[in-house]
């Protein structure tokens, strides 16, 4: 080894941008799932400013993919994240939306949060909202984070976890 050997030529190929790879894998996985669920729909990759991969399912009559309180949508997202994480050996932030459901829901939650905060402020009584998935609770906490006279906490376990709005000084 080494004696009389020529200089080795090493070709270095730069790794392709990991996020781009993850995004196309995520999209492909979602398409594979939809076709096996017999749902005719297309998947669009939304380019956002965050590092999260945003996928949007577009098609007709996709309510079946959303389910009660978005349960089905969350299951799809959970499975896609799991498969992509298994393939890439790391967790990748992926967010899936169907026909703008999440966007509409976020708007509705923002209004609900402000209304409930007002109620808590005037009545001095805590209000507990219905159970919500993690990102919906997060939306509520964020919307109300800057309000001076109330605080928000999450109570309960798992799927029964809900946001409570509490007047400050009574925590």
């Amino acid at each position: 080894m080494g004696i009389g050997a020529e200089d080795a030529l090493v070709r270095v190929t730069p790794l392709s941008h990991p996020e781009k790879d993850a995004a196309s894998i995520a999209r492909e996985v979602l398409e594979e799932l939809l076709s096996r669920m017999k749902i005719p729909a297309t998947v669009e990759l939304q380019v956002g400013e965050e590092s999260t991969i945003n996928l949007e399912v577009v098609g007709d009559d996709l309510g079946i993919l959303i389910g009660r309180r978005g349960q089905t949508l969350y299951s799809i997202q959970f499975i896609v994240r799991l498969i992509v994480a298994h393939r890439l050996r790391e967790m990748v932030p992926i967010s899936i939306d169907v026909e703008g459901y999440r966007k509409r829901r976020r708007e509705a939650l923002r209004e609900l949060a402000l209304r409930m905060a007002e109620q808590v402020r005037t009545s001095g009584q805590s209000v507990t909202l219905e159970p919500m998935p993690p990102d919906e609770r997060r939306t509520l906490h964020l919307v109300l984070a800057d309000m001076p006279d109330i605080t928000t906490i999450s109570v309960g376990e798992g799927e029964a976890r809900k946001v409570t709005i509490i007047p400050k000084g009574r925590t």
């Binding site: 594979e32 799932l33 959970f78 298994h86």
Partner: protein
């Protein structure tokens, strides 16, 4: 329905070749039996059964699309 469960299971286990899904009619229902390698069982069930529950939710959609009802058993 079988292809859906097969695809998900094969994509999350360490021994995809050992994934087997069978479909058996049982009255109005179709029972899908999912078999994986012993060491992969935890992966298809998940913490607090979350993976199994999510698979069942997606299976329900596929079943509705095919005009039937389906049940998933992990054996």
């Amino acid at each position: 329905m079988r292809e859906l469960i097969e695809y998900i299971a094969r994509s999350i286990v360490t021994a995809p070749d050992e994934v087997k899904v069978t479909e058996e009619p049982s009255g109005e229902w179709i029972v899908l039996k999912l078999e994986v390698a012993q060491e992969d069982k935890g992966r298809v069930i998940g913490k607090q059964g979350r993976v199994a529950q999510a698979m069942r939710t997606l299976l329900r959609v596929a079943a509705v699309r095919e005009g039937t009802r389906a049940m998933l058993e992990i054996v």
